[in-house]
Amino acid sequence: MLKFPKLALGLVLTMAATPTFADKLGLGRVALPEEIAAWDIDVRPDGTGLPVGSGDVLVGEEVFADKCASCHGDFAEGVDNWPKLAGGADTLDHEDPLKTVGSYWPYLSTTWDYVNRSMPFGDAQSLTPDEVYAIVAYIIYSNDLVDEDFVLSNETFADFELPNKDGFIIDDRLETEHSKWVGEPCMENCKAEVKVTMRAMVLDVTPEDTSDNAAAVEPATAEPAKVEEAAVVEVVEPAVAALDEELAAKGAKVFKKCKACHKVGDKAKKRFWPNVERCVRSTSWSS
C-alpha cells in the first residue's frame, strides 16, 4: 500500500531506534464515547461508519428540491458555477471532461459522507440520516445509474458501485516523470528558434486592479478590460410605496437560507458570473 518502499523501510528503522512511548507527558484527557460518536462520522468506501437508515429516489427528489436545488439545480445539473452533480458520463478522456458524482467519483461513500457532514452549504449537519440516504439516492438517479424505485440504505449500500471506481491510479510521477526530467539541463543552443504561441492579453480575463495605487504598479494593458455587460444582470428595485419593516425583517430572516447562493445590495452586481467560456479553462473550484 505504501508508495515508496524505501521511505517505508526508513520509517521502520527510525521507529525502532526511538524510545517511542517512553516520553508521554500525561497531557489531555480521555475522550468519552459520546464525544467520539459526535465527531467520528467518517464513512469508508465499504460503508463502515454509516448509520442505520434508508431513503428512496422520490423522497430524495423532494428533499433535493428543497435543500440542494438552489445551487445544484433541480436535476443536479448545477446552477451557474456551482458544482454539477450529474452528467458527464464517458467524458473523462474528452476535452474539458465533466466530472460529477456519476462520471468521476469513485466511491458512493464519499457522497454520503460529504452531504452528511458539509451540506447544505451554510446549514451543514442539519440533515437526518434518512434524508442523506434519500439525497444520495436521488443524485445517482439523476446520473441515470438507478431507476426511480431505487432505495438506498445502510444494508444495501455496499452493493452499489459507481462507474469510475477503477478509474484511478496511484501517483506515478516518480516513474513517469522524474525518471525523465533529471540530470544536467541544456544551457546553450537549446532551441533553434523561439516563437510566442499564446498571449494572456488576447484572452483578457485578468481582474483589473481598482485600488487607488493601482496606477503606480501595473503596466499598461493593451486594451481596457471589456465591461462584462452581457453577464451582468441589473437588480431593479420595484417601486414600493412604503416599506413594511416587519415584513422586511421576516424576509431578512428567511433570506438567510438563500444567501449562500444569492446576494443583494451594492455588491450584488458583481456576484453574477461572467461567461466562463471566455476563459481557456474555467477550472471549477466550487465548494
Binding site: T14, D40, L92, R173, L203, N213
Partner: protein, 422 residues
C-alpha cells in the same frame, strides 16, 4: 483619472528617467532636486505618536500590495481562493496579512477557549486536548512553503492570467511554531495500531467543510506539525486560528485548518477532497490519486506583468522564487530568450527543505525584448519541466500540480506579459 491614463503617465515618467540614467551611466542632474534642496514637511514637523497604531498595517502607499481574487473562478467568495501578491514581495517570508486564503466553507471564528483536538481510532487511549494542553508539549520551529495544488492550474491549457500574483500566488512561506504530529500521536499511543507501515491518519477541521484528508502514517510521523503560530504571532483566522496542520512539501489542501480530529486508521477514508478533487486526470481519462508532493517549481516575480521595468536600460535585478516539496532547491537557471540559452542565478541563501528560496540574476538590460524564464532544480536532480513536457505526459485536462516553466514577454518599454512560447 482612469487607471489607464495614470499608468501611461507613470510609465512615460519612468521611461524618461530611465533614458537619462541609462544613456550615460552615472547621470548628471540639470537642476538641483528640490527634495534635497528644500526643507520637506517631514523634516520639519512631527510624525505619529507611538499610540497611533497599536498593531501596525503597511503604510498607505503600499495599499495595492494585497491579496486579490478572480471572481469568475468560483461560484462565490466563501468557497474560494485568493492570491498572494508575490510580484510585490521580496525575500522569502510571506506576511500573514497578504498570504493567500483558500476556504471551503469560509474562514470561521473560533476562540482558543473553544478549541478541542481529538485523537481517536487505532490508538491506545483516545484523547482530547485543549489549546492550553498543546502549548505544554515540546515545540518546534520550521519555515515551510504551503502551495495549493491548483497553483498555476488556470494556465494548463494556455497563458490566461496576466500577473504572477494570479498565475503563481496560491503560495505562502512562513515560519511555524507548533508541536510535531508524532508527539501528539505518541501521547495517545500507537501500540494498538500494530504495524504502522500500512496505517493512515485521517485529519479534519472544525469548519462546516471539515476538509478531511487521509495521510499515510509515514508522513504523519515524519515532519507534520500541529501549528499554532506563524511568523512569530498567532495564526490568522483565515489560516486556521487557533491551530492548523502543517504538512511540509505536500499540497496545501492537506494542511487542514482549525484541525479538530486526528483518527488513526487502517486505510484512507477516500474523502471528497482526495477523490473528486485534488486528483489529476490524464489524457486517457484515468486519474492519478494521492499526488501529494509539490514538485520543484520557480517563477520570476519581477519583472512580471504587475511589476514592469520602469527604469529603462542599465542595471536590472531579475528576482524570483523557487521551491520543491521533495527537499531543497539546489539551483535556478534564468533565460532571457525563451529557453535558448540559460544563465545560473544566484541563490540569496542556500535552499532549505520544503521552504522557499529567493534567486536573483543581477544583469544589464539593453532595452531589447526579453522572453524571461526560470528553471529550478532540486536535490533529487529533478529539473523543472516545460509546459510542453507536462502536456506530453499528462494531456490537457489536468488542473493540479502544474509546475511548468513560466514565460514573461518583456517588451522594449519594460512591460511584461504572460505568454507561451514554442
Amino acid at each position: 483619472m482612469t487607471n489607464k491614463t495614470s499608468r501611461r503617465a507613470f510609465l512615460a515618467k519612468g521611461l524618461a528617467a530611465g533614458a537619462t540614467v541609462g544613456a550615460a551611466g552615472t547621470a548628471n542632474a540639470a537642476t538641483p532636486d528640490p527634495l534635497i534642496t528644500e526643507v520637506q514637511p517631514w523634516a520639519s514637523g512631527l510624525g505619529d505618536g507611538v499610540d497611533v497604531s497599536p498593531y501596525g498595517l503597511p503604510i498607505s502607499h503600499e495599499a495595492d500590495v494585497v491579496r486579490r481574487n478572480v471572481e469568475w473562478l468560483t461560484a462565490d467568495t466563501i468557497s474560494s481562493i485568493n492570491f498572494t501578491p508575490i510580484h510585490a514581495l521580496e525575500g522569502t517570508i510571506t506576511p500573514q496579512g497578504c498570504a493567500f486564503e483558500r476556504h471551503h466553507s469560509g474562514a470561521i471564528e473560533m476562540t482558543k477557549g473553544d478549541y478541542r483536538l481529538m485523537v481517536n481510532g487505532l490508538v491506545d487511549r483516545p484523547l482530547v486536548f485543549t489549546y492550553d494542553d498543546l502549548e505544554r508539549f515540546p515545540r518546534e520551529n520550521h519555515v515551510y512553503f504551503c502551495e495549493c495544488a491548483a497553483n498555476t492550474g488556470m494556465e494548463w491549457a494556455g497563458a490566461q492570467l496576466n500577473g504572477v500574483q494570479f498565475t503563481h500566488g496560491m503560495i505562502h512561506n512562513m515560519e511555524y511554531t507548533g508541536v510535531s504530529l508524532r508527539t501528539i500521536l505518541e501521547e495517545a499511543g500507537l501500540d494498538t495500531a500494530g504495524d504502522l507501515k500500512d496505517k493512515w491518519v485521517y485529519v479534519e477541521g472544525a469548519d462546516a467543510s471539515s476538509n478531511g484528508r487521509s495521510i499515510p502514517m509515514e508522513k504523519a510521523l515524519d515532519d507534520c506539525l500541529i501549528a499554532f503560530k506563524a511568523n512569530g504571532e498567532a495564526l490568522r483566522k483565515e489560516h486556521g486560528y487557533p491551530v492548523r496542520l502543517v504538512v511540509p512539501g505536500w499540497e496545501g489542501n492537506m494542511w487542514v485548518k482549525w484541525i479538530r480530529r486526528i483518527e488513526v486508521m487502517d486505510g484512507p477514508v477516500e474523502s471528497r477532497e482526495e477523490t473528486s478533487k485534488y486528483t489529476d486526470t490524464l489524457e486517457n481519462g484515468t486519474s492519478r490519486k494521492w499526488t501529494w508532493e509539490m514538485d520543484a517549481k520557480s517563477v520570476v516575480t519581477s519583472p512580471s506583468p504587475q511589476s514592469p521595468i520602469t527604469h529603462g536600460k542599465g542595471p536590472l535585478v531579475i528576482s524570483g522564487l523557487a521551491w520543491t516539496g521533495r527537499g531543497a532547491i539546489t539551483r535556478v537557471d534564468v533565460s532571457k530568450d525563451g529557453g535558448k540559452t540559460w544563465e545560473t542565478a544566484r541563490l540569496a541563501k542556500d535552499g532549505e527543505k520544503m521552504a522557499m528560496t529567493r534567486f536573483y540574476l543581477d544583469t544589464t538590460w539593453d532595452g531589447e525584448e526579453m522572453l524571461l524564464q526560470s528553471r529550478a532544480m532540486d536535490e533529487t536532480g529533478y529539473v523543472q519541466p516545460t509546459k510542453a513536457q507536462l502536456r506530453e505526459t499528462r494531456g490537457l485536462n489536468s488542473i493540479y500540480h502544474n509546475n511548468c516553466i513560466q514565460t514573461w514577454l518583456v517588451n522594449s518599454k519594460g512591460e511584461a506579459e504572460n505568454v507561451e512560447v514554442s
